[in-house]
């Protein structure tokens, strides 16, 4: 197909698929396979504002581009923070970045956690593994405006104690009297003095008022389904439980079609969904 060069024009609007340059300021090793990057805009444009629960598409030169939740504090106007678990090609390349390296970012995309809606209610945050990353901005917001909420609870489960993210921060949070933090691991060496067992086992043990609770859940899909079931068993209505979904994404703007789950595009109708709206879809195998 011959394109006519004389008609060549630059489209007026920037292409939503074109990343903006960001530079790695700091790298923190969280666990054996998980790293946190602090990024700053490298073109002087500053960082776009984001809402807790939104994600970016992170591009590593020559490696590719993947969705990553923004895990910093929405109130921090300067930096973008991502925590990445190395599981494959691109995430591994992200985990190998050093301070000073550049990445491309597109975003933020997706729906936020219902932090506003949770005002005046008890808030139960349940995270599994890397699922704490997209929920950390929620915790920042809850604690920054602590008086606005009822009881605030974080239930967090990982495979082993060595997989626990943000250990210093967790310790700080645990020391607060107005924030209940419960951590459990699937298996642990003898020295571990905390809970052992899947994250669902903690739900009946923490105190909150199910009738006036908003729950936000992120982790592997099976985990989220079991957590939601457990929350429902305690009397939390389906329409006050929120989960964040994961699907293959190539564009994050609704063009590529990869992230569809029935009628939903995870990238734009989610990734955060109200549970009652998505639950029927989760029951269908290979949807």
């Amino acid at each position: 197909m011959n394109l006519m060069p004389e008609n060549e024009v630059m489209p007026a609007a920037p292409h939503p698929m074109a990343p903006l340059p960001f530079r790695v300021q700091r790298v923190r090793r969280e666990t054996r396979d998980t790293f946190t990057l602090e990024l700053q805009s490298a073109n002087g444009a500053g960082r776009p504002s984001f809402l807790a629960g939104q994600f970016n598409m992170v591009y590593v030169f020559g490696a590719g581009e993947v969705p990553m939740s923004i895990t910093g504090d929405p109130a921090d106007q300067d930096t973008i923070i991502h925590t990445t678990r190395s599981v494959g090609m691109v995430s591994q390349a992200i985990c190998k970045l050093k301070s000073g390296d550049m990445v491309g970012l597109r975003g933020p995309f997706g729906t936020p956690w219902p932090v506003e809606e949770a005002a005046g209610k008890d808030v139960v945050v349940v995270a599994g593994g890397i699922g704490l990353a997209p929920l950390r901005p929620v915790v920042y917001q809850l604690l920054a405006d602590r008086a606005k909420f009822g009881k605030v609870v974080l239930i967090y489960g990982t495979r082993t104690p060595a997989d626990i993210l943000y250990q210093k921060e967790l310790a700080k949070w645990r020391s607060r009297l107005d924030f209940r933090v419960a951590v459990t691991v699937d298996r642990a060496p003898a020295a571990w003095r905390g809970s052992v067992g899947v994250v669902t086992t903690l739900i009946p043990k923490v105190s909150f008022d199910p009738q006036r609770t908003v729950a936000m859940v992120c982790g592997p899909e099976v985990m989220m389904r079991f957590v939601a079931r457990e929350l429902e068993a305690r009397g939390v209505e389906k329409n006050r439980i929120y989960i964040s979904m994961e699907r293959n994404m190539k564009c994050a703007v609704g063009f590529c079609g990869h992230c569809q789950l029935g009628p939903q595009f995870i990238c734009k109708d989610g990734a955060v969904f109200r549970y009652d709206r998505i639950r029927p879809l989760l029951g269908i195998r290979e949807l």
Binding site: L3, E8, M17, P19, G62, E221, E246, C251, F255, I284
Partner: protein
């Protein structure tokens, strides 16, 4: 009632001339490798003059007509999406110098393209892709530039193919919107002319540049009866009553296993479909590793990679992929974009190597509706859901 004009076959070349004079690249049907495809047209002679096509599930054949019709066939393996939403597009390039990366957005051609011979179903398909790329909160600027530069000459089908069912999908056979010019070809004995109708001021302007005369009522009526006859000829039909709920409620229907036993997951149906829009991205790096390019390429929900998330594909079975494709076309598209994703062009039936026919699949599911209410089912059955992990 819009005004109609008569354009003689002998003057048809003037239409191509007028478009070219205005700087349009004229693209239309032409015969290549035994099929009618869309490509550049230099003159009317490049059209499939006197050819027609015979289509059936899994079969496509060109045949000589008894006349010299310019548009005496239906749609082939190509659709206009190859020009508005091309199979491969470079989105940007990146260069690395030391620790710095410079990302350069692609300067894209916004060619003025005139599409000659756009069928009613294809006009509908284009408007459906418009919703995908222009109708949401993000706009695809490349699609937009190509779309805005396009001049559409519609041709009303004078006969329907054996795999056509646009009438069932309310997408034809008569072009009723979205064109700049619409033509109906009329051949009677030694007479050969087109009833022309302008749909936009630009279409009107171009029509005025051609030798033409106002149409007589009888000529308008003749065209009308051609449209009616074509509508009666549809080789396939689909009952679309409540089709969204029908398919949503039958996500666990055994028929999906039956299709899966036939489907090769070859992706043909998605490639030929004029509304299928899915893409993937590919990164290319040079040997030194300092230059990278990102390409967007057509992709298909029939591949394993399409739904891959680390740990495995969400849709690992052919059953789930066919179900995704068909329920997307006929059901979830309605929720997403407010209309069906199928215009009844029949391409997916004709070009399926094993002749899988979605109209037949719908018929069987409707006849054996099991209403599992699965999309609305309260599932707490310990099923690990859709995620492979």
């Amino acid at each position: 009632m819009p005004e109609h004009s008569i354009l003689q076959r002998a003057h048809f070349e003037q239409l191509l001339g007028a478009l070219k004079t205005r700087g349009y690249r004229v693209i239309g049907p032409t015969v290549r490798d035994g099929a009618i495809v869309y490509d550049d047209l230099n003159s009317t002679d490049d059209l499939p003059v006197g050819w027609t096509d015979e289509q059936e599930g899994g079969t496509y054949r060109l045949k000589r007509r008894g006349d010299a019709a310019l548009f005496g066939y239906v749609v082939g393996p190509h659709s206009w999406k190859r020009f508005l939403h091309p199979p491969a597009v470079r989105l940007w390039q990146a260069n690395r110098t030391g620790k710095n990366i410079q990302i350069e957005e692609e300067k894209h051609a916004a060619p003025k393209m005139a599409f000659l011979g756009v069928r009613a179903c294809e006009l509908h398909a284009i408007s459906i892709q418009d919703k995908v790329f222009l109708g949401g909160s993000f706009v695809d600027p490349l699609y937009k530039a190509r779309r805005e530069g396009a001049f559409l000459v519609a041709v009303n089908c004078g006969q329907a193919g054996n795999t056509c069912f646009c009438a069932s999908m309310n997408a034809g056979p008569k072009a009723d919107f979205g064109f700049d010019l619409a033509l109906t070809e009329i051949i009677e004995g030694s007479e050969h002319y087109f009833l022309a109708e302008a749909g936009t001021p630009l279409g009107e302007e171009i029509l005025q540049e051609l030798e033409h005369r106002p149409a007589e009522n009888i000529e308008v009526e003749k065209a009308g009866s051609i449209h009616e006859k074509t509508a009666q000829q549809m080789g396939r039909t689909v009952d679309t009553t409540g089709i969204k709920d029908l398919l949503y409620a039958n996500m666990e229907h055994p028929r999906w296993d039956d299709v899966a036993s036939r489907c090769l997951a070859c992706s043909n149906c998605t490639m030929v479909c004029p509304t299928c829009f899915c893409t993937t991205v590919e990164d290319v790096t040079d040997l030194k590793g300092d230059h990278a390019e990102r390409w967007q390429k057509w992709d298909s929900c029939f591949t394993a990679d399409f739904s891959y998330i680390h740990g495995g594909s969400v849709r690992s079975s052919t059953k789930s992929r066919y179900r995704q494709w068909m329920t997307h076309k006929l059901a979830s598209w309605i929720d997403q974009f407010g209309s069906s994703g199928c215009v009844g062009c029949g391409r997916c039936i004709t070009w399926c190597p094993v002749a899988i026919d979605l109209t037949e699949e719908v018929r069987v599911i409707r006849a054996t509706d099991i209403r599992t209410k699965s999309m609305a089912k309260e599932t707490d059955d310990g099923n690990t859901g859709t995620n492979p992990r």
